[in-house]
Symmetry: C2
Subunit: 702 residues, 2 copies
């Protein structure tokens, strides 16, 4: 990232508005008006061939006529003129283009977009948009957009792919009381994408939390890298997660929405916290922009009402931080600040008699206590207490505790007095919400953030693999005009990555089959080998538990006959002779080459778990053995591998290494491999390893 150029684009010290207008209702009018009303202090250069003056500013026929330097040019001329205007900006030495104009890829004119970006890059310029509202920055008093005003000031930044939502969310910051320093409309992402904005906002001193409204990422890998290296919390609302929604998103933005499960995995791997809906995005943003991450699981709830305490307890379980009772010393201390019918266990119920003092001492004590990792303070408005008093008590307690590395969130349920007290709390850095569930959810966001951060891990590539051998197999298959690799070919690639496959050799004649069966020293499986027959069982192409010369010969012929009957023109390589793997627990490994995130590995238990319960988990490749272990725990059927029902635990460690190597394989060969399957894979008891019984690789179309 060229910081100077990005600063010029997103914090411009001077702005040209190309297509500026004096006609109210035109976007070229609104952008100049917004700059004026926002209080922008740098020079504004309206460009319009037909006017000498626009809204009080001297206007220029061309950007080339502008006397001073220009950091950013907001472009509002019709799409067809944008490439030409871009070249003039380049000649002028403009740093960044805010292409508000629409009429590009969203209506099928991707060509105009590509042309614009190519010209811009010739001159070292970056392009934001096209098809955007513009940019907003409170700390620069810069409203270079057709949104009517700057958002409520605050510590968060918002990047939105939807223009309509951008304007509506801007207005709603004043209602929701969640403040933003910057808002960036990202539109078609012809050049500057989510990853760029994340990296830039990460170094922006006025930004404390990065919030994203995403319809579809264009370069998922780069986004993940940018997000992973960012030191600030990132929260994303991803739309188009439903089957129908994905279709709607595709028609709306022209970008591929990607499968929901892969997005889930990618965000978690990149340390990005999710929002479930618009309110949740604002609510979580508020907490994440004001409070530090929550580094442990001990959440304490302090309340003056049993009812809201129970509701918050339910919420804590719902959001993955189930409550535990506070240790004895905490309970003993807290019992001092409540009547006998209160409770110090957790939730700490100070009872409806609690005023400012009880709140203050108990919050200060518990916030400072080692056992407490995070605090949620609840208050039900009563006739006897003043919400503002309680708010001030809470604030004084937080200050008095000296704690700055744990989060706190507050919920007041009540009327206008409670609302006012909560506004005061937010202004004083303490996130506050009108119901317990939202406060607990906000704390849970800070917990998720810490968990994701702690789980992030760099992948150490296996050095004992033979990528060249794998590529040689691929080259050979390609040379034969195939994309669907046979089991024999697929296993050759697996073996190049030292994956434990069941010993399988190709026999092209009956005699060869007999020899290989004898060498296997026990019963074998015979399977048809043909790039044209993927579903071998359906073709009558598999025979298990074959023993003895006679049987081998008989089934060799039978399988060949079946295959020919199934698909007369199939290209048959021969018959695979595979040693029978002893039975164990069946699992499945697989991969897709996701349109957004590239090679992505899948894990699940076999049989009904995959086919009926869809109990699988994904990760963008590669994944370390530790992250693979986490995958094994992610599925609902996880206890089966852990040794449920009195069974011996399965060899999860070996399986995790297999998964990790597998992920490196599909990542290394991501330019060639489209999909893979290792199914079934047999997992044995702890220490006894794993055996991949069958394998399949489909190559990308050339």
């Amino acid at each position: 990232m060229d910081l100077e150029v990005m600063n010029g684009l997103l914090r411009p010290k001077s702005i040209a508005v190309i297509g500026a207008s004096n006609t109210e209702g035109k976007i070229g009018y609104s952008v100049v008006r917004s700059l004026i009303e926002g209080g922008y202090e740098g020079p504004v250069y309206p460009v319009n061939p037909k006017s000498d003056e626009i809204q009080g500013f001297k206007a220029y026929k061309s950007v080339l006529d502008v006397p001073g330097e220009i950091d950013a040019a907001a472009i509002v001329v019709p799409a067809k003129f944008v490439p030409q205007v871009t070249r003039e900006c380049g000649e002028k030495g403009v740093k960044g283009l805010i292409v508000i104009a629409s009429g590009f890829s969203e209506i099928g004119r991707a060509d105009l977009e590509t042309q614009t970006v190519e010209i811009a890059h010739e001159y070292g310029m970056r392009v934001l948009g096209p098809n955007i509202v513009g940019i907003l920055s409170n700390s620069d008093k810069c409203n270079a957009s057709f949104a009517p005003f700057l958002p409520l000031p605050g510590k968060a930044a918002l990047v939105s792919q939807s223009g309509a939502l951008f304007i509506a969310m801007d207005a709603s910051t004043y209602i929701r009381r969640v403040g933003f320093d910057k808002m960036i409309s990202i539109g078609n992402m012809s050049d500057v994408n989510f990853g760029d904005t994340v990296s830039w906002l990460d170094q922006d001193e006025s930004t404390g939390c990065i919030s994203l409204y995403i319809e579809g990422l264009k370069d998922g890998r780069r986004f993940m890298e940018n997000a992973l290296t960012a030191s600030k919390p990132i929260i994303a609302l991803k739309s188009g997660t439903s089957a129908h929604g994905a279709a709607a998103a595709a028609s709306h933005t022209g970008s591929l929405a990607g499968s929901g499960k892969v997005y889930d995995a990618a965000f978690e791997q990149a340390g990005v916290v999710r929002a479930s809906d618009l309110n949740n995005l604002f609510d979580r943003t508020l907490a994440m922009s004001l409070q530090p991450p929550m580094q442990g699981d001990s959440l304490l709830i302090v309340t003056n009402g049993g009812g809201v305490g129970v509701l918050a307890t339910d919420s804590a379980e719902r959001y993955g931080i189930p409550l535990r009772f506070a240790p004895e010393d905490v309970q003993t201390e807290l019992r001092k600040y409540m009547p006998e019918f209160g409770s110090a266990r957790n939730p700490v119920d100070l009872t409806g008699m609690a005023g400012r003092d009880w709140y203050q001492v108990s919050v200060q004590y518990s916030f400072a206590h080692d056992w407490v990792d995070g605090l949620v303070v609840l208050y039900c408005e009563t006739a006897m207490t003043d919400p503002q008093d309680i708010a001030e008590g809470i604030k004084a307690a937080v200050d008095g505790s000296g704690v700055t590395d744990k989060p706190i969130a507050v919920s007041f349920v009540g009327g206008e007095r409670s609302e006012a007290a909560m506004r005061w709390l937010v202004e004083n850095g303490i996130p506050a919400y009108n119901e317990p569930d939202t406060a607990v959810n906000a704390i849970a966001a800070l917990r998720e953030y810490a968990r994701n951060q702690n789980a992030a891990q760099s992948f150490v590539r296996y050095q004992d693999v033979d990528e060249a051998a794998a590529r040689a197999v691929i080259t050979k298959v390609r040379s034969e005009g195939d994309r669907a690799m046979t089991e024999i070919e697929s296993k050759a690639i697996f073996e190049a990555y030292r994956l434990p496959v069941a010993h399988t050799r190709l026999a092209t004649t009956e005699d060869e089959a007999v020899a290989k069966a004898v060498a296997a020293n026990g019963p074998v499986v015979l399977k048809i080998v043909s790039p044209d027959i993927l579903h071998k069982s359906d073709a009558g192409g598999v025979k298990v538990n074959v023993e003895g010369e006679e049987a081998v010969r008989k089934y060799f012929r039978e399988i060949l006959a079946n295959a020919k009957a199934y698909k007369p023109d199939a290209d048959i390589h021969g018959i695979a002779v595979q040693e029978m793997a002893p039975w164990g627990t069946e699992v499945i490994l697989g991969s897709v080459n996701d349109a957004t995130f590239g090679p992505t590995v899948m894990f699940g238990l076999g049989g009904i778990f995959v086919e009926i319960l869809k109990d699988v988990t994904f990760r963008v490749a590669p994944v370390s053995p530790e992250q693979s272990l986490k995958m094994l725990s992610d599925i609902n059927g996880a206890p089966i591998l852990e040794g449920a029902r009195g069974e011996t635990p399965k060899d999860r460690k070996a399986l995790a290494e297999v998964l990790s190597r597998y992920s490196q394989m599909i990542d290394d060969l991501g330019d060639e491999i489209l999909e893979t399957d290792a199914n079934p894979v047999i997992v044995y008891d702890e220490g006894d390893g794993v055996c991949i019984v069958d394998a399949r690789i489909i190559l990308k179309a050339e």
Copy 2:
């Protein structure tokens, strides 16, 4: 329900305040003050032995001194005086007691509570509370409580078990803009419970929707009956659903919280819609108090922004009403009111260019269209449009359509202008929310309500059962001092309910076992029969696939020896000889006698589905065969019974009848049976029936 008495209690035409006070800060002061400030128009009779006048009213030494009739007495004297005061009220002819006073069962003085209710019932009075805030009624201008004011007027009613939340929610109605006509604080529910308030509110002409905040029901069955017969929508926020939350609830209210899954089932069976949290309770209440149920699954979304459209689409899937594309005629018509880059499929994207006119014509057309069962209208505030204009267009469209039997919900995302427009919409009967997710969730509540209503079904008892025979078995077991019934005894009861058990007979000698094995005409299972050995396999007490006289004799001795070694003092009845059931799909039936809802039946698939995935579903007994079929579809593994993976569909019809008979059995014998298990139960292919292989019944403690 004695309507006159309940009206006297909840809509009193005259009120005595017993324990009224002139001292600010006392509850006896607040209640009188609330009546005055609420504008109560009936006579108020303060009772206080030490004053002649209270806050401008003439005061009386005793309620017996009051000259006029008294409908309700609000009681705020210390708990120990309440029974005596109750008797005086009875003598006076008071109809209902609003016992605000605390110090009863919540601190271990259930005796005072029982005494009060007994006295009240002697005189035909009903008791609300104790330990409550009071009652609020806008249509009666009656604030007989220590809450400072009446709620925002509206069409809903709220019943709350928590006093603190009652006051806080009252205040928050003004912030949330959700109006209530009545609010009832229900406290310890010594007499009047949730079921009573539901029935009474159902006949109250000012109530359109009944909202409940429940910590724990006391008489679950009665509540279900009252809810089922109610003609108005009921929505419940049940707290204490988490493991830890249930513990907190128990300590808070002294009532058993009950298992979350049984509550889920009971609410669904009773047609009660659920709220997930406090905001959700208000949001859903708003829609349910203003709009009719949604009678089909075709939800149409109209929007001016693709982004919010996609978010709403995701939400629709999340809340169980996934979107479908609108039919061609709808699309053709709607395409007339949008630019070319809009979309008429669903969501209907009118684009950011949409003003009042486009909204109005498209909403009016689609609301009136047969295909549309419900409508969600979204609007993102733009610089070019006026939210109030859009709101008026929507309202005019709804009125113009003439439709009153379908619901509509609206979401405006924006600033103060949008907020004002939404307030106007709500005042005009159209629920409006600040984000799409909430609007879709509200519509989903109306869909759930319709679904629950349509699924409600009366149970037709099986007449061919022999309850007397079942009871005779129980009597015999009881007479032997046992509670854990043996398989033989349990199966006898199952057979009395015509449940298809595997033929099993008791053998007390080797010879008898041989004779019975021969009669079985095939291999048999031998199992130990002892009320003291529940886990037969663990005791080495089971041998399957036993064939031939020699084997029967050998294993008969072996099992006996194992059982004696396992538990030397076990009371051994003999050995069960059971015909081997052919194998099929394994399922489990079971039951608990829930503390709140009584006999409750459980269904799940066998093995890992129950043990690892906890994939089970509950229903309060009895359930009809149709409802049982629904249970079979409720579990995640449902496709296994439906014939997934190319297998023949299983006999779901026979299984549903078994489940229905089973539910009648545990319901009929609910006074005796604590728990049951039918495990495994084998389900065969369609038409081939079901076989219960093993059975267990545990009786209640006497």
